[in-house]
């Protein structure tokens, strides 16, 4: 119990960071983390030791995918996020660019990139989280980086002009 508790507690700040980067919305992110923790507590008896962190990332990643599927049927929440406008200006603008670049990725690409770059998971761990071979992780990572680069290189001025 206490190993489990300590492991989960230690992971919460990073889970919040990952969820925030995935969803771009503080409330949705913390909801996801809460659901992840509840899910983990409920299936604690199924956890046989091993990589607790990867397991928690797996739960969160799956819950986020479910959330996006639900949104696809009933789209509103994403929209409200697009609208939190005023922060586009000022010192956060640089951060907003990378946020928008991340938003231009597919969910799978974004997940891979964030798990590798932000959360420091190994390719093998990411493969486990996504339940795919390492080769698939590599190609998603490559596509994600190419897309972010293309976005930052060229899309930016276009966006500025439209707004």
């Amino acid at each position: 119990m206490s190993v489990f508790k300590e492991g989960v507690q230690a992971a919460i700040p990073a889970l919040r960071r990952y969820a925030r980067a995935l969803t771009r919305n503080a409330d949705i992110a913390d909801d996801l983390v809460q659901d992840t923790l509840v899910r983990a507590l409920r299936s604690q008896h199924l956890f046989q030791g091993g990589e607790l962190r990867s397991w928690l990332y797996t739960i969160l990643t799956n819950l986020n995918r479910n959330r996006l599927r639900t949104l696809a049927r009933r789209p509103p929440l994403t929209l409200f996020d697009e609208n939190d406008g005023p922060r586009t200006m000022g010192p956060e603008a640089g951060g907003r660019d990378i946020e928008r670049a991340l938003a231009s990725l597919t969910e799978e690409q974004r997940t891979v990139l964030l798990l590798v770059v932000l959360e420091g998971l190994s390719y093998r761990q990411v493969a486990e989280v996504q339940g795919v071979p390492i080769g698939t992780v590599m190609s998603r990572l490559a596509r994600a980086r190419a897309q972010v680069k293309a976005y930052l290189d060229s899309e930016r001025p276009v966006l500025r002009r439209v707004k």
Binding site: K5, V8, Q9, I12, P13, A14, R16, R17, R20, A21, D30, V33, Q34, L37, V38, L41, R42, R73, R74, P75, P76, L77, L79, F80, E82, N83, G94, G95, D97, I98, E99, A101, L102, L113, L114, V116, V117, L118, S122, Y123, M138, L141, A142, R145, V148, K149, L152, V162
Partner: protein, 265 residues
Amino acid sequence: MKDNDLPVTEEELHAFVDGELPPDRHEAVEAWLAAHPEDAARVGAWRAQSQAIRSRYRDIAAQPVPDRLKFERLRRAEMSRKVMAAAALIAVFLLGGALGWIARGTPPNAQDEFATLTAQALEAYKLYVVEVRHPVEVPGSEADHLSQWLSKRVGHPLRAPNLEPLGLKLVGGRLLPTKSGAAAAFFMYENTSGDRYTIYCARSKTPNTAMHYNAAEKASTVYWVDGNVAYVVSGAAERKRLWQVARAAYEQIEPAGSQKNSSGS
């Protein structure tokens, strides 16, 4: 030494950036990058991306964990949930009956309004979208006049959104009656191949709602309420496209109370 002669793959470049490259390939990759400036630039860009992502979200992991995410609190909640689950099952039956009884006499709710307005918008869509010579009362070339007129009649500042970035030109608009006898504004757009989309706007008493997509025969709608106005975007497009159009319209609607009263473009 033999390893150094193998050509470096794209995967190895990523592994290099992410610290996953086997140590015996480091030298080879570094030599490769020195000799291939384009790859070196890409690797540099990837590193800059990583840096930007980390610094954007660094603060969040440093913040104190909110109470609702504290382990003990969740664990206690989980314990009591198990106890409550059994009780709740019984309560649901009782409550379900009670709510059903209470709901008998409630006034028309958001769900009804949603259904009514969506149906009206779809009727208007079907009626006017096939009209070749007189699809609108006021042409898109008089957009300012159109917006002023419809705003006045509907009793709320309205403006035909600019959907040209999506390849949609404003055909124009007209005034329509709603079932309850109020005025509704109706804007029509079309692309170069003649596909038409309409936006139907009517006053609403229900609070703001999320956007709802509804697929009907031949045409689909996206409906939402924003600042006392209900909007229904209709079109014969697939969901993704309709969603794009609705989103563009949504983004151009100024939140209630912040109208700038600009009559220019």
